[in-house]
């Protein structure tokens, strides 16, 4: 019973966490989109490449 309650609690927490990450991400993207494609496209590409670079450095050898 305790195990099931723990799983339910974690499920709710994970759903809230997903919403807390995804909603602000897409609010930012909408704001960038409102500024125009000339802003959105380079911003997303540069940030994505930067993130990829950081992940590459962090996961070397793992």
């Amino acid at each position: 019973m305790g195990g099931i309650l723990r799983q339910v609690g974690l499920s709710v927490l994970t759903t809230v966490l997903a919403a807390a990450i995804l909603i602000p991400t897409f609010v930012v993207i909408k704001l960038l989109m409102d500024l125009g494609l000339d802003v959105l496209l380079p911003a997303v590409v540069v940030f994505g490449l930067l993130l990829a670079y950081v992940l590459r450095r962090q996961t070397v050898g793992s």
Partner: protein
């Protein structure tokens, strides 16, 4: 029934067939992780995906259909032959890429077909530059956003579950995957079915079957969603079985993060009226969760398919549609 009406009905049927094949092809994307982790059997998984493909008909709007219908090419140049040529351009390119195993997008093929047929009909002036630019930009933006959102989500999940027993985490994500797969199927259903709706609506509008104003009739909404859902049911289960085996290394938590991020990206694009490749968006998400573990192990097929979309899909499907239109206008 007169000849012109029979031709319109025939083109509507071809458009719905295109939609059916889309469901047939893409079912695996939405439920492969659920099958791989044995949360659902392949049969149940495709029914799950098809159900959410269909219910996407209710309440998610027709913004993408409007973009396809009147945002890519000038509706003044559209006629039956143009739409048929666009569909043939997309279908022929899809068959060629399927034959050679190239990972391209049928959405981009359809857009390329529309542009090629419109240029053949009325020259470059028939193409709406701002609409094409927006769709072109989202070929890159959509998978990149899937990558970024899935990376953030995967990192947050890694932190939250650091002190949780693996068996407990497995149990949680097995159930949460049902939610993320449903959300992804909803996004896939609405964005992809709306492309067909746009094609059918603009055909009906330009042939005088909608009156003076462009809109998407509800029967078109329902038939497009039914076609994609049926495609998922009839074709999906075999592909899902194969995909399920191929991606067994994806943990349930990874599947959840990739699907949730991709679903959010696709639903966002749908609400702002942008037709995107659902396959490339979830591929971006999968690359994101994979990168949080070992960057070098990620298969960079998604980048390859984006380059293919830019360099090949839109121009070649456009060229096929352009040739088809020139042949069709002789009859």
């Amino acid at each position: 029934m007169d000849g012109a009406l029979i031709f319109v009905v025939f083109i509507v049927a071809v458009a719905l067939l295109f939609d059916f094949v889309n469901g047939f092809h893409d079912a695996a994307n939405s439920v492969a992780t659920v099958v791989a982790t044995r949360v659902l059997s392949p049969g149940l998984a495709v029914i799950w995906a098809a159900f959410f493909n269909f219910v996407a008909a209710f309440g998610l709007g027709v913004h993408v259909a409007n973009t396809i219908g009147k945002g890519i090419i000038d509706t003044g140049v559209v006629d039956e032959k143009l739409i048929l040529s666009a569909l043939i351009g997309a279908i022929v390119w899809d068959i060629i890429t399927w034959r050679y195993g190239l990972p391209t997008s049928s959405s981009h093929a359809l857009i390329g077909g529309l542009i090629g047929a419109a240029i053949a009909s009325a020259g470059m002036d028939a193409v709406i530059g701002s609409g094409v630019r927006k769709v072109g930009a989202f070929i890159v933006i959509s998978p990149m956003v899937g990558f970024i959102a899935a990376t953030f989500l995967a990192l947050a999940i890694l932190n939250l579950y650091q002190r949780v027993a693996p068996s407990t985490a497995q149990g949680v994500f097995r159930r949460l995957q049902l939610l993320s797969a449903a959300a992804y199927s909803l996004g896939h259903g609405t964005n992809d079915a709306q492309k067909t709706m746009g094609i059918i609506a603009v055909l009906l509008f330009t042939t005088g079957h909608l009156g003076g104003e462009f809109y998407v009739p509800f029967w078109v909404v329902l038939s497009a969603h039914a076609a994609i859902a049926l495609g998922t049911v009839f074709g999906g289960w075999r592909i899902v079985r194969t995909m399920g085996m191929r991606i067994t290394k994806l943990e349930p938590a990874d599947g959840f993060a990739a699907e949730a991020a991709a679903a959010a990206a696709i639903l966002f694009a749908t609400q702002v009226g942008i037709p995107v490749s659902t396959t490339q968006t979830i591929s971006g998400g999968i690359v994101g969760v994979g990168s949080t573990k070992r960057f070098s192990a990620v298969r960079w097929g998604v980048a390859y398919s984006i380059v293919l979309a830019w360099v090949l899909t839109i121009p070649v499907s456009g060229l096929i549609a352009w040739i088809t239109f020139h042949i069709a206008k002789e009859f």
